[in-house]
Symmetry: D3
Subunit: 318 residues, 6 copies
């Protein structure tokens, strides 16, 4: 879809391409000229764009989070690249998840590698029923495409594109190494690790070119949605044992650990306990790392984190 990425824009060139609108506002310059300032984004970064002509008219054509097609010229202003917009319009068509990838930065290790990791881990599973469950999942392009691309949350942890996959794979990788010390059925733990958050593919949807909670996501939550998805997948596998479907669903239902954290049932088997604690560990550590990467107050201390109710400390490197 895109041809020029933000990171490749050079000064004094024409830029005609699609971007995601990150922010939009109308201001007056010193000499009282009105202009629109628009922050445009793609997966490689963000750039300031300015509309100087037909300001009201053009600005009315798009909103924050829309994908827009821009015709512009790159200029340098106060040492920074800026797009001088000649025309801009909202992309009317709904984007596919593949196309969305071009507009959001992705998880550090890269979605392709994470997908490979995902399949490598499913290959570790020996239980025939569970293997066929993942075969079934593979057929469900509607699930898989979102599962591989959406973030794990909107603002708490693993917020980048592919974040849900990154988190699911990471939980499975740690579980794979911890189970020998802890006990529990490794196949079930791996399947549970990869699927504990699968309901997020219905909880999180697209709003224009960005991610947002869907209506059903807000009404039902990813736990109930995940249970229904596993019900769908398991009943598509002939002879999938009831007890096994129940245990997988139980891992989903209980993975928040306590009722007050949103789990109607506490983890009641070793496998569910393992997934719950490693989920917590991975999510919290990643959330703190993301907070550290953006909100240091001094060299050693972050700002206060509202949700985690704490500051965090970066051990000084020596």
């Amino acid at each position: 879809m895109k041809r020029v990425f933000v990171c490749d824009i050079e000064k004094d060139t024409e830029v005609k391409d699609y971007f995601l609108v990150d922010r939009k506002g109308i201001y007056s310059s010193r000499n009282n000229t009105r202009y629109a300032s628009v922050r445009l984004k793609d997966r490689t970064g963000a750039i300031e764009a300015r509309i100087w002509d037909r300001v009201e008219e053009l600005s009315a054509l798009f909103e924050r989070n829309d994908i827009v097609y821009v015709e512009s010229r790159a200029k340098v202003y106060q040492d920074q690249l800026q797009l001088n917009v000649a025309s801009i319009r909202k992309e009317a068509r709904d984007l596919t998840y593949e196309e969305i990838r071009e507009f959001h930065p992705e998880a550090a290790s890269g979605v392709e590698k994470l997908i490979a990791d995902f399949f490598r881990i499913t290959d570790e599973i020996k239980n025939e029923h569970l293997r066929r469950l993942f075969v079934e999942m593979r057929k469900r392009k509607d699930i898989l495409d979102k599962f591989f691309l959406i973030p794990a949350s909107l603002g708490v942890h693993h917020v980048s594109l592919g974040g849900l996959l990154e988190h699911s794979v990471s939980v499975a990788e740690i579980a794979l190494r911890a189970v020998p010390f802890l006990g529990g059925d490794l196949d079930i733990v791996l399947a549970g690790s990869l699927l504990h958050d699968v309901g997020k593919v219905e909880e999180i949807g697209l709003n224009g070119g960005s991610f947002a909670y869907s209506d059903r996501g807000r009404l039902l939550g990813h736990i109930s949605l995940g249970v229904m998805l596993i019900e769908e997948l398991a009943s598509a596998v002939e002879g999938f044992p009831d007890y096994l479907a129940d245990v997988l669903k139980h891992i989903v239902v209980s993975h928040h650990g306590e009722a007050e954290w949103g789990s109607p049932k506490k983890p009641m088997c070793i496998e569910a306990l393992v997934v719950h604690y490693i989920d917590n560990l991975d999510a919290k550590v990643m959330g703190v790392k993301e907070h550290m990467s953006q909100n240091m107050e001094s060299e050693k201390w972050t700002q206060f984190h509202r949700l985690y109710e704490s500051r965090f400390y970066k051990i000084p490197e020596r």
Copy 2:
């Protein structure tokens, strides 16, 4: 299945019939004779039975909660009727829910009347999709038979046979009268009232001749099980609107009101709020009435109720 009910047993008659074992123990009499004391139950009451011959042998043939076939003779001992057991054996066959009815007392207004109430209320529903949802439910004899007969809980409130139906109907009856004062879509409130606890048909099962939590009931809880049942019913109705299915499921998901009481989502629409509060009202009041009927410590005060963390006060009648 049964021919003679506890309430009809007369002294010095032969009693050959099926009963539910409520309690079992082996004791020594004053003159050191060993005997088994068995409390037998059916829907009309309970009676003491004694085994004096082949005590160990016969006692080993059944357990608490089993349905047994007894051959005995009714005698009077210390002014009380007692069965003198000649032979006793466990009924090997699994009972149907219809047969189970003969062994448990039922809800005060009677299951037949409650079923009639249930259908009368579903007839009040105008929304065509919801009407067809209940038509679909009616086809599902596996759901309906249990829905009409199981208790609403094992020990807290509405514990009699038909208790779930009694509670569901009662919530709907009150909602029917409250909605004009509160607002909200009456059809959705009625459907939600009748179905909010439907997951209990999978949460509660049979253990011998008594009710007990099923494995999947313990692992998933009636909230998740209810969501899946509604998914099943709604997807069997052609053209059932997604938003409507989501709202019904949301009522199920949120009917406990708060995460710490087991609801992963709080009630978010008027209809869910109405069901939640009336559910609470009906369950709590019935629970307290059942506690009052069995656990008065004095004329005015009940014993302390563990779960509700209070004593309760019966206003003296004048």
Copy 3:
């Protein structure tokens, strides 16, 4: 007191009347002229008023929430009616509750109808002692006038004039219909429904022309104040039974349900349970409806509600 209401003001007419000051500020116009902008309110709406002469002097004569007498002329400015103020002064006299009615919008069904409902419900009460308690209340004009006019809360639910009455009547109407299904003494439930919040007549007072918590309201709360009011009323009724006064006070004391919600005692009798749950139901549903009427973020979702800690969903109409 008033002659012209906001909704009746016509352009190019003289307006000389009383209003409530909703907001007050001093600004500079484009050409650097200082003016005061005052938002004036009565029960039919609000209008912008401007003071262009003696700005500081006139502005100093009144504060937010004062009742002011204004002499002005209605003009149209940018398509909106505006009052051009020639003189303005604070009303020195304390207003009666009757007069206050002219300045605040009232509950949807109207205070007169609600008063009629109130008396109709008290007429349903058969218990002679309780009937005479309401006769006694009727004599207490100091209580009744406030009871009929104050809002049920300052900002959470039933915030309009007559809101307390609206809420009390609504709880009683629902209780009247629910008691046949739940049990409990109907007379006590009705009296308790109508009086559970009676302490608010001392908790909420007037601050200028608006409602505000009184000192004793903040120090003692409407639960303790309500208990004392019922003590007063009951001891004025000859032969009022002690147990009945205690039960009514208990309904007041326990109507918040749990210690952490401000009730020193949990509801301990059926009647108190019924009032508590229906109070909760009516207050929460009305609070959410008021939030929906003012704070929709999109067509379907409200903004986050701080106190209820949730967004709310308006089912789309079809």
Copy 4:
């Protein structure tokens, strides 16, 4: 009422006197003789009594917590004094609080001294209104007699006769010395200290010869009852300032400190804070001392205290 106290009973004497029944049971001796064992109590101690004749008949004449008149003879059995009961009957008349004193041990420093302390502290109060409030209280023999004799609680702290007075005086004594360091109006703090628990005179009543919660105590709690008592006393004092009555009631309402501990309002003025914390301090320390005096598990550690959720440690004396 009594002539012989437990501590004065001598062997081989006749004992004909009133006692409180502390425990009652029927047993069989080694040689199969049935007898009743009754534990009899007065303020000086407890003694074992045995009924050997007409066991069932005599035992049926009284219950635990009754005051009984006993005709018996003191014997020594296995090195312990025991009463051999010839006749026993329940005292039909309700006892006065004065008479009750003979059957319960009283607070360590003695009720007479505590009463003197109480009046000495009220004499420290300079505020004329508050002085007259206590004059009014002095006229109310119905309040004062109970206030001077009931325990502060049934089982948690200050459980002896005069315990409420002991606690109230102790809070006032500490407050008297702490206010110079803390600030606040000393007169109000003293009055609040002495009256914070005054509602207990209605919360706790007599059940036979022992103390028990009254119906209204259970339904309303001592906080609401205390507020009404202060309302009564203050309105009996001509010209008692409203604000002062409100502050006293606020001290009562808030003295448990937090909603979850039963206070509908937190302490909001210095005076209420001082009473709350010193109340807590005195009650908890006394509760722990009473626990230590009766429940040491070893030389240094008490058993686990259910309510306080801890063991306690007695510093070894050196």
Copy 5:
């Protein structure tokens, strides 16, 4: 270090002295001249200073909370004294705690008097081991200097210089008078009162010329730090009994009372209970008084206090 204090500055004099920077900002005057506005502080008050020349250059030389040396002239501007800054530079040297005193207002009764109080109270202690513990503390100038000068908290209570000492002494003074009524070992209570917060000398440090939490303070908290300090002091006293060191540390560990308030152990002996409750009392009352002195919303009511979650009421003086 200082020669001229803010309270002594006179108009039209030269002011060359050290101050603490309380606030710093760069603004434009009406006629578009840029200037720096700096709020300078010492223990006697604060004064506005202005930099009109070399604004950017001079402003870059110091930050908020730095101690600066200023050469300036005092002028009157709009009826207020102001310093016209000719030169300003950050003091490079770290200040001693003695020097810091010149820049912060101190506790009301004065640090010297509080130190005298502290030693007078330690003289009340009879236990030889505890006496020698305080002798040891007296040798530790590193501890003592901070203990005598730092505030008890940064923003909640006792925030002035010497606040920790003021609080520790006040707890001990109240305890000294309360123990005779409560019981407990007076020597241990006094030592515990004076040392319960001793860990704050490591929790709070200097940041420029102001107080701030140290890294180890944030990581370990004053409870753990206090335990280690007492370990240090006690092991420096020959023959200090283990049990006594454990009890002192227990007082430190438990003085917040409950796990959720940061105490890993609840108070388990009378002495720890006494310190805990009096600590709470003194800290809360002082915190409320400080809030009252700065945040009254009206004559009688303070603004809402975030941490204490309440408004507070000042009893009107008559």
Copy 6:
């Protein structure tokens, strides 16, 4: 110390050896002969012993949890080996931890292997300061002996001999494999994993031949005790960096995760988060496995676990 272990006792042999008293009671046989029944234990199992002669005299010589020396003869009674005790006496000497090993079953993988694991993991640490900290710990035989032998808790998880070591090693093993996926300083995580519970060596002591909480353990808890132990060890290492000692202590202080679970500080750095979550994971899973091994109610479900507030489900093996 021991020569014959329970598992090796053969019938009709003399048994003269040391055992731990697990239970002791005096009973009457059918023919009214009094005897003492004593359950004796060592690390290989338990055996019933009977005292038939001088019952009172011999029984008075020892208590539960004592180590006793027994002279006896092994007999078979009702198909079970039993010791016929001729003489029995309490071992007066305090046992060393080495000797204690003979009387308690040890962790599944064996203490020797766990010690080897411990040293292998410390060898993985590259940081010179941390390496020397463990060298220092190795010199402290008083710490190390207990660290290698005590259980991790008395009754919750890892209750066998060597349980603390087993748990510490297990946390470190999992952390070693998880850190590559999570980030954080591996050396610090490993040291923190091995030392997070080190304070238990002072929290848990010996009571006779069994483990029990020490006085200082109850008063201070293993968190405070651990901080002091690390302080001791770190200050014995020359040049040990302050920041590193603080981080290690922070891991100890915060490893329970939340104030309400006993941690005065939440984990504030990646390393502390990793230790906290893996500690939780390992302790909880092991606790559930131990519960499963002893408390199955049916084939699939355990009994209710008081502390964990749940039943647990054993996935059926297929």
